[in-house]
Symmetry: C2
Subunit: 182 residues, 2 copies
């Protein structure tokens, strides 16, 4: 069975988006030639993706899913499914029964692969708060955005253990295991 991996791009000051909701260059590494290896590894390990509604809407609006290398089923946590299907031919499943159910269904779909929780901050915080996250991968981008949407907000204390650090041009990939209290 795969893991639930929080997988997010973050500025050094902890934002996943800038003051006006702009991406602040946080995703540049993903589309750069030097990002290829990390992206290929992630695509290979990922069996399903879980995102929030705003991330879905943003991806749809910007035609982002048409260019995504992830062909796996995307689960979207939402209060109300959209009226028209998204562009891009990807399989989207809308879950209205809360984060536990969304993670459960994503896990079943992922099989031996990981469920990658890809944002936004709200769904990430819900997953962390509910103790559903096994690993956190932070792609730390060398910039202070100075404001915006914080990844870690209102989550409470969570113990971590460093698993791996990979430094690359324009980004440092930091992987942590979440220490669960039994």
């Amino acid at each position: 069975m795969g893991k639930v991996l929080l997988d997010m791009n973050v500025s050094l000051d902890g934002f996943v988006a800038g003051p006006s909701g702009e991406d602040g260059g946080l995703h540049n590494w993903f589309f750069s030639p030097s990002g290829g290896e990390a992206v290929a590894e992630s695509v290979g390990n990922t069996g399903a993706i879980l995102i929030g509604r705003r991330t879905y809407d943003q991806g749809d609006r910007m035609d982002g899913f048409a260019h995504s290398p992830y062909a796996v089923e995307h689960f979207v946590l939402t209060h109300e499914p959209p009226e028209r299907p998204a562009r891009g031919g990807m399989k989207f499943t809308f879950v209205t029964e809360g984060v536990e159910e969304a993670v459960e269904r994503a896990k079943r779909s992922a099989g031996d692969g990981n469920v990658a929780v890809g944002g936004g901050a709200s769904v990430a915080q819900q997953c962390l708060g509910a103790g559903l996250v096994d690993e956190i991968q932070v792609h730390l981008v060398p910039v202070l955005l100075g404001g915006g949407i914080r990844l870690f907000e209102g989550v409470g204390r969570v113990g971590l253990e460093g698993v791996r650090v990979v430094d690359a041009p324009g980004v440092t990939h930091l992987l942590y295991r979440v220490l669960k209290e039994d």
Copy 2:
């Protein structure tokens, strides 16, 4: 001439102290055997230290300066110097004329060594906000504290360039150069 280096221990969620002002284990690596190499390098490069008044009071109260490996002059940014001298035999200079003057005097004292801005968050933010910081070294500790004092708050957008990443047990040392707009 040395550099002005912001040099701070930070949790993965960006705090330099926990919700009740506790250190949250952020300094453990510094006193662990595996931290020796990084500490020795830092001590060797540091020509002066700049701290805020609360950090000074805390260090004095906990007898922290008596155990510090840094024998260099410590500059303390404050509104009012304390009435009695600190314990520990270290040389403290209290600067009441603001952050620019404090950095300037620390630089003169440091000679070819670096001025290490060692906290707290307020003096770090003042230095960053005034464009006085050449490099930022974040000692990233694998824990989410869930609240407390944030290192990067109200600083505005600052461009950075990754210089070096060193992973060690219980901490990742991340060094960045501040990109100054000319």
